[in-house]
């Protein structure tokens, strides 16, 4: 729903003037950012039908205009499967990116939906923790590039994605179209268990593969994604939501006031890749 205001902003831009300006901005003291994901991605070529992966990125916040990330390279990172009592150890690879050490890689053969996973990051004597369970997704039935039914011009096109809704109470899904184009969707108003089609406008860049990810989510993760989408797309404009700090699910248990940004997530992921064409076939029809 929040995306609606996009369209109104388009209207305003007909009259208005948008300009990048110089602005002296205050910078908050650096805060730790933990971007941690334990993923079970659908891959029919593997024995289990899924491929598991784990990735953790650590950095500090920087000033708004700075383009230089501030990686954190000296943290101690683990993920513990609590019931199975398995500890996965991470080692720093490069530029704040942490990967499983060789021994741990062999340990994550299956991610059990009933298992609880605890992330632990120790940095500068402070411990950051979060515990999550696997969030299941649903298959993408079809993704295709189509002419924009509401296009401004002939060559405007969009992506139409159809997926199978899961029956049961409200389910949440997150879509990731890459390049920060993320949003959540819930099936509250969707006919129970039906195939659901929706359209995503996207930044037009052709002749490339577009990977679309459908990520399982709970309400909490869906809200987090919405919050990210809100403050990276439509905050502060004439009808913009008052911007705010987006807080994730990781707690600094040593010093709660020094909370981290970022999220620890354990998701099932379905992917679909399509080739974006400059003049898609449908224009010839």
């Amino acid at each position: 729903m929040k995306k609606i205001w996009y369209y109104f902003v388009i209207f305003f831009s007909l009259l208005a003037c948008e300009e990048a300006i110089d602005l002296d901005l205050d910078t908050e003291p650096p805060r730790l950012v933990i971007d941690a994901a334990l993923l079970r991605t659908r891959n029919e070529n593997t024995a289990t039908g899924f491929e598991n992966s784990a990735q953790v990125n650590l950095s500090f916040t920087r000033s708004f205009f700075s383009e230089t990330p501030l990686p954190v390279t000296n943290a101690q990172v683990t993920i513990t499967a609590i019931n199975a009592n398995i500890i996965l150890n991470f080692i720093h690879v490069d530029g704040g990116s942490y990967a499983l050490d060789s021994e741990s890689t062999t340990k994550i053969n299956g991610i059990d939906p009933t298992e609880s996973f605890k992330l632990s990051v120790i940095h500068n004597g402070e411990t950051y923790e979060s515990t999550e369970k696997l969030q299941l997704a649903t298959p993408i039935i079809e993704a295709k590039q189509i002419k924009n039914p509401g296009g401004f011009d002939e060559e405007d096109f969009v992506i139409e994605v159809t997926f199978q809704d899961k029956p049961g109470s409200i389910n949440y899904f997150v879509f990731d179209f890459g390049g920060g184009d993320i949003f959540s969707i819930d099936d509250e108003f969707i006919e129970e268990g039906s195939a659901f089609t929706f359209i995503n406008n996207f930044d037009k860049q052709v002749d490339r593969d577009l990977k679309i990810k459908l990520i399982g989510a709970d309400q909490r993760f869906a809200i987090y994604i919405d919050d990210l989408a809100t403050i990276t797309t439509d905050s502060g404009g004439p009808f913009g939501v008052v911007p705010f700090k987006v807080r994730g699910n990781i707690v600094n248990i040593t010093n709660p006031d020094n909370f981290p940004f970022g999220y620890f997530r354990v998701n099932e992921v379905y992917e679909s890749t399509i080739l974006l064409e400059d003049t898609p076939k449908f224009f010839d029809e």
Partner: protein
């Protein structure tokens, strides 16, 4: 409570004080001689007795005078002053006609014409404007606008140039009671706030109460904007209109039955959308509005009025979405004069406000609306010249439909659904008195007893500890609570009821003929609320009534002022100070998803508000050069503390500036008449930039390939200062024939092309992938020509 009851007793006991001296009642109404429309606010003055009065909202007045012969003068801005000599030896009643002054178009007036009256009354913190004044202020694209005009008064502002609504003394825009011919409006803007819905041609009189709100008004915290539409000419057929850059308008009026029944119809429509297809633009934004008024005089004692308004906005992005919203109301009114000192008005109003959005992209249609039926019965009772009473009752039956969804396509992938309708009944009884304690000291006490009944509805969520908002202690995040159950209450039963006493009082002390001091106190209560988490409200925002989860918002305001008449009325000066506090102010937690939320209570936090300020208004009322200088110094702050000491609240439970806190606000309006043909209007406005929330850092989330800005505390920063200079030249050619009078208005808005920031956003440039601060400025320099006519 005891004190308030005592006060009520006092009021009623005073009303039975008998009248000793042998006095006669003289009364009547005042009309426009050309059209027989009743005139509001005419100053009537009896010099020999040094007493004065003004005609009420329906054009009536009353005096009690001893036997004798008196000169009674009637003066009203834009009209020739009339004097009548009357010999009083019995009760008398007559109709006085005033002829419009020839120079009507040239008058610029605001409030108080004859200071004898305004210095004496207890009324303060109010401003009146007339249609002609509004039309004279240079406006964006040459479109005269009521709301834009009142924001040039002290104590009134808007969050930005395109904000819908206006803010009075630091209050939010839903705290204004906007009345058009007594009907409450829920939205006052066209095109999301670019223009307001009031056609300047039909505005007869406009009065804005920023404080000292009389007890007869209620239901909103901060202000009352009372707009009266013209009634229509009872004598002859006339028309007027204008052709502008954005809209054209036409008004027709005339008698249906001469001297008895008149009609007035007026319409406006924007037509830019008609030309857009020429430029191959298939998107459009348009609006229209339509006013109708019928006035029927049965006899001197009975008048019937029918007024109706309908306005719709249309907004279309071809194939993507289409959006309509609008207001409608019909008011049927009966003015009845029981006797020369008892006057009544009965109103029955039906109104609705709707909002409709078809999202073709997603394939669903969304509709929400508010309808209400309002019954009002008001009395004005002139017991003595020193003691006048007003009392009455007001009942509003609301029905809020927060939204229904249905699928646009055949695929039916959306479930059609209607959110639970919310119903409530708002009632009020009031009494107010105008008491002259002495020649110099006047007091106007008032009391309003208001209540709100929220009726039952199905599927009301039950929350743990009755808290619809859940606080996650370890991450300090507020989020929507999961209900622990559900209950249903019959539609006929009351779910929650509220009763409130709202005392109001005004005091005035006249130091001498030219100086007066005044003070006022008001308590106001608001039972319906606009829930918005955007910097300025949008039409998508939902009005929600008080009920099981939302307490009424309450406010106290104290004001004091000094008023001065300089050089025998050539200049007037008013200085006021106020302090206002608000309880249960509705707010929301960070990232609350309000749009389309069926359980809006799960997003709300309640806080406090406080505002204080100093207002200064100097007016020049006569001469070739007229105008005003307004200066406001003010603060408006909010506090959203945690519900328990363990909660963080918003901004660490500390006071922070509200969205429309402006430290300094200066307006200078002037017009100079060179001769009968040429006139120059100019206005300058300076305002401290409004609070905003700026980025104070950034980080990358590699797993989503996204750059995330870090925002600081809510409203911790400010947009750059706002200033703008506008001019307009009016050219009135000598009429070729008596029937047609035309006027050209050449205007330039934002003469020095200041790029005022409407907002500053913080985003990533998709091409360079660098973070940028983007300033959005809406109106640059805009020249416009419009043509107005009368026949």
């Amino acid at each position: 409570m005891k004190k308030q009851l005592y006060f009520l007793n006092l009021l009623f006991s005073l009303s039975f004080v008998s009248i000793w001296a042998q006095k006669y009642t003289i009364s009547g109404s005042v009309e426009n001689a050309n059209s027989q429309e009743k005139l509001i606010g005419v100053n009537i003055f009896i010099k020999d007795l040094n007493i004065g009065a003004t005609t009420n909202s329906y054009g009536y007045y009353t005096f009690n005078v001893p036997e004798g012969t008196y000169d009674i003068s009637y003066s009203f801005i834009g009209y020739e002053t009339a004097t009548k000599t009357i010999q009083v030896n019995s009760n008398l009643s007559w109709v006085t006609e005033l002829s419009p002054a020839l120079e009507t178009l040239d008058e610029v007036v605001i409030a108080k014409t004859k200071q004898q009256v305004s210095l004496k009354g207890t009324e303060m913190s109010t401003n009146t404007l007339q249609g002609t004044t509004i039309k004279n202020i240079p406006a964006v694209l040459g479109e005269a606008d009521v709301i834009k005009a009142i924001t040039l008064l002290p104590g009134v502002s808007t969050a930005n140039e395109t904000a819908s609504g206006f803010n009075v003394r630091g209050g939010s825009s839903d705290q204004n009671l906007i009345l058009m011919d007594e009907a409450t409006l829920f939205s006052s803007s066209h095109l999301f706030g670019f223009f307001s819905i009031f056609n300047p041609d039909i505005v007869k009189d406009l009065k804005l109460y920023k404080g000292g709100i009389p007890a007869r008004y209620g239901g909103r915290l901060s202000s009352v904007l009372d707009i009266r539409q013209r009634e229509g000419n009872k004598k002859e057929f006339h028309g007027e209109g204008g052709i502008g850059t954005i809209t054209s308008r036409l008004l027709l009026e005339g008698p249906i039955q001469k001297n008895k029944t008149s009609f007035l119809v007026a319409g406006r429509t924007s037509y830019v959308h008609l030309f857009l297809p020429l430029f191959d633009i298939s998107n459009s934004a348009s609006y229209y509005d339509f006013n109708l008024k019928v006035n029927h005089t049965i006899n001197e004692k009975n008048n019937f009025y029918l007024s109706s308004y309908s306005g719709v906005d249309n907004f279309e992005l071809e194939g993507v979405l289409s959006n309509q919203y609008g207001n409608r109301f019909t008011n049927f009114r009966w003015n009845h004069v029981f006797s020369s000192n008892l006057f009544s008005n009965t109103s029955l109003i039906y109104a609705d406000y709707f909002y409709k959005l078809d999202l073709n992209v997603v394939g669903f249609s969304w509709k929400s609306d508010i309808t209400y039926l309002n019954f009002k019965y008001d009395f004005e009772h002139y017991l003595k010249d020193e003691f006048k009473l007003k009392y009455g009752l007001n009942l509003i039956n609301y029905s809020f439909n927060p939204g229904s969804i249905k699928s646009l396509s055949d695929s039916n992938q959306f479930i059609s659904e209607r959110f639970t309708e919310k119903k409530g009944l708002e009632g009020a009884l009031y009494v107010e008195a105008d008491i002259d304690i002495s020649d110099k000291l006047k007091i106007s006490p008032g009391l309003r007893l208001s209540n709100f009944l929220r009726f039952g509805e199905p599927n009301i969520s039950i929350y743990e500890n009755n808290q619809p908002v859940f606080y996650e202690q370890n991450t300090n995040i507020y989020k929507e609570a999961d209900p622990i159950g559900e209950t249903s209450i019959s539609r006929n039963k009351i779910w929650k009821d509220f009763y409130n006493l709202e005392p109001r009082i005004g005091l005035a002390y006249e130091i001498n003929d030219a100086n007066a001091i005044k003070a006022s106190y008001q308590r106001t209560v608001q039972y319906v609320h606009l829930i918005s988490n955007t910097s300025t409200p949008t039409p998508l925002d939902i009005w929600t009534p008080s009920g099981g989860f939302i307490e009424p918002e309450k406010s106290n305001q104290w004001a004091a002022g000094y008023f001065r008449d300089i050089a025998d009325g050539a200049f007037t000066l008013s200085t006021e100070m106020y302090y206002k506090e608000i309880e249960n102010k509705i707010n929301f937690f960070d990232g609350a998803d309000i749009i389309g939320n069926r359980n809006i209570e799960r997003t709300l936090l309640f806080g406090k508000g406080r505002a204080y300020g100093l207002e200064f208004l100097l007016q020049k009322n006569i001469g070739k050069f007229q105008g005003w200088l307004a200066y406001t110094f003010s603060r408006s702050e909010e506090l959203i503390a945690g519900r328990t000491p363990n909660e963080i609240g918003i901004n660490n439970s500390e006071w922070f500036p509200s969205n429309f806190d402006k430290t300094h606000d200066i307006s200078i309006i002037g017009n100079y008449s060179f001769n009968k043909k040429w006139k120059l209007n100019a206005s300058f406005n300076f305002q401290t930039g409004v609070p905003a929330t700026f980025a104070s850092g950034a980080y990358n989330l590699a797993s989503f390939d996204i750059k995330v800005p870090v925002f600081g505390e809510r409203n911790a920063n400010r947009l750059p200062n706002f200033h703008r200079f506008d001019i307009a030249v009016n050219y009135t050619p000598k009429p070729k024939n008596k029937k047609w009078q035309g006027e050209w208005v050449f205007s330039i808005y934002n003469l020095y092309n200041r790029k005022n920031a409407n907002s500053i956003t913080f985003e990533r440039n998709f091409e360079t992938n660098r973070n940028e601060a983007i300033r959005l400025s809406i109106f640059g320099i805009i020249p416009a020509v419009s043509y107005n006519f009368k026949f």
